[in-house]
């Protein structure tokens, strides 16, 4: 369970996240939607203790993330496929993470197999395509077999088969009773993956409701509803000077 309460992050005069409050429950896939620059990634970083909130709290299973010494058994996360060292092999990258968390060595081989990277485990990550790096990031998130999983744009760069695989993976993880929180810009993909949605724009909450309810708001599906509800609060739009 993820509990975000009055979470705020300011950078100088810019408010990236503004008094955000929502809860992500276990047993279902919760989609995290919002236009570019709406504060999704900042929210996820605050949840993971990577940046400090200006005010408010972010709790995972009742504890602030940084209250834990090691975390992979509790929380698995993929923030960006590029959060790796290009000079290391996939196996070495995962081996170091597993070792730091006191996980059995065998887990590295298991997650590599789970994401389909066994054959390239000894290749340096710098030679990987974006899709392969996404798979490696998902493998890292699965290492500790955690009850809570966070994914930021996990299907970017995946081939169609990979997108379907990821969808089934997320749904399967949720079906096992885990908390699964997935951000994405791909409305059609979200429609197929998520049960529940948290939608933000300009750092504030727009919706926290079942996907079906949200999609029904505009009468024309998820994409229509998203455009209608966030359209006037998009920070970066092509062909426009603000």
């Amino acid at each position: 369970m993820i509990e975000v309460n009055e979470l705020t992050k300011r950078y100088g005069h810019t408010v990236a996240v503004d008094a955000l409050t929502f809860t992500v429950r276990p047993g279902r896939v919760t989609g995290f939607l919002g236009p570019n620059g709406s504060g999704k990634s900042t929210t996820l970083r605050m949840l993971l203790g990577l940046c400090a909130p200006t005010s408010g709290t972010a709790l995972i299973d009742g504890r602030p993330f940084r209250a834990r010494g090691v975390a992979l058994r509790h929380v698995g996360a993929l923030l960006s496929a590029d959060d790796v060292h290009p000079g290391r092999t996939a196996r070495a990258h995962l081996a170091a993470l597993a070792r730091a968390n006191g996980l059995p060595r065998g887990r590295v081989g298991e997650v590599l197999r789970d994401v389909g990277l066994t054959e390239v485990a000894k290749r340096r990550v710098g030679t990987f395509s974006l899709g392969m790096k996404q798979r490696l990031g998902i493998a890292a998130a699965l290492l500790g077999d955690p009850p809570v999983l966070l994914f930021d744009e996990p299907v970017n760069g995946l081939d169609p088969e990979g997108v379907r695989w990821a969808r089934e993976l997320f749904r399967g993880l949720a079906a096992e009773g885990r908390t699964v929180f997935v951000s994405s810009h791909l409305m059609s993909e979200m429609e197929n993956t998520a049960d529940h949605l948290v939608v933000i724009a300009d750092g504030t909450l727009v919706a926290d409701e079942p996907l079906a309810d949200f999609a029904a708001r505009a009468g024309g599906g998820l994409e229509e509803a998203f455009m209608k509800l966030t359209g006037d609060r998009v920070r970066y739009r092509a062909g426009e000077v603000r």
Binding site: R45, G69, A71, D83, T89, A100, L117, A140
Partner: protein, 283 residues
């Protein structure tokens, strides 16, 4: 690339209880894996070691060839320590060791690996200390090997023309000990600089500036009041400790105690800076 359908992940044993405490053994093990899994690291360390063994041999050989031309005073002032560890040539070693240290942190910031690291281990201070432990261990072993090897080779190059100065002499052992310590010192200072600067190029430049550009810039005639500060610079402190001669010291030099103190203070301060910088800043 073959695709594998996801199978349920088996729960690892012993996942309940107090398993979320970061254990030193595991953190050091992880940093050990990270340190050696970059191809450039062993190559850099190997090249540095080989280069300095060669330089010591060459330095001894130069003394051998020059000896017949030395006056009695010059022969009396022969310095076995500075022959084995010629100061100006060691700037590059300091930069090399400092860069290896800087890359352990800057390399994590370059791509964003630092976020993966801290997502797996929220206890940031312990991650930094584990890095420091690995760096200290590896660089101390390398430093000892290079120090003993350099001294021995430079002595061997003296042939039968110049009186030898056994490595077991107290001042020779002091030179070897100081050189052993110089490598981890430089690596940890590099790590501390990178923890503050984060960017690879900036960190390496800072290492060069601190170790190479600063010493000649500091030692300026007419600024003798600056001597205590200058003498605390690693290169001057180490230079003092590696001297085994008995003649012509020009200008201010630190006492041995002051030099040892400086050599101990640098790495401690660097690690403290690294821990604080990495703990408090957003990544």
């Amino acid at each position: 690339m073959s695709l594998v359908t996801h199978t349920p992940v088996p729960r690892p044993p012993g996942r309940s209880g107090t398993a979320d405490r970061a254990r030193w053994r595991d953190l050091v093990g992880a940093e050990w894996i990270k340190f050696w899994s970059l191809r450039s690291t062993p190559v850099t360390l190997g090249v540095l070691a080989a280069l300095y063994l060669y330089l010591a041999w060459r330095s001894g050989g130069q003394e051998y060839r020059s000896w017949p031309h030395y006056t009695p005073e010059m022969r009396d002032g022969f310095d076995a320590g500075h022959t084995a560890f010629p100061g100006p040539e060691w700037f590059a070693m300091m930069v090399g060791a400092g860069t290896v240290g800087a890359l352990t942190v800057a390399g994590e910031h370059a791509g964003g690996l630092i976020r993966t690291t801290f997502t797996a281990v929220p206890a940031r201070g312990r991650v930094v200390l584990a890095k420091a432990i690995v760096l200290t261990g590896v660089m101390t072993v390398l430093g000892f090997a290079v120090a003993v090897g350099s001294y021995t080779l430079s002595q061997a190059a003296l042939g039968d023309r110049i009186p030898h100065h056994a490595v077991t002499q107290p001042d020779a052992m002091r030179a070897v000990a100081a050189t052993t310590l110089l490598l981890p010192l430089c690596a940890l200072v590099g790590m501390g600089l990178a923890a503050v600067i984060r960017v690879t190029a900036g960190s390496v430049f800072a290492v060069c500036a601190l170790f190479v550009l600063l010493p000649p810039g500091l030692r300026v005639t007419g600024r003798q009041w600056l001597d205590p500060v200058v003498n605390a610079h690693p290169w001057f402190a180490w230079g003092r400790l590696t001297g085994t001669g008995n003649g012509h010291i020009v200008g201010s030099v630190p006492s041995f105690t002051a030099a040892w103190t400086a050599m101990a203070a640098w790495p401690v301060a660097a690690v403290a800076v690294a821990v604080v910088a990495m703990r408090v800043r957003d990544v």
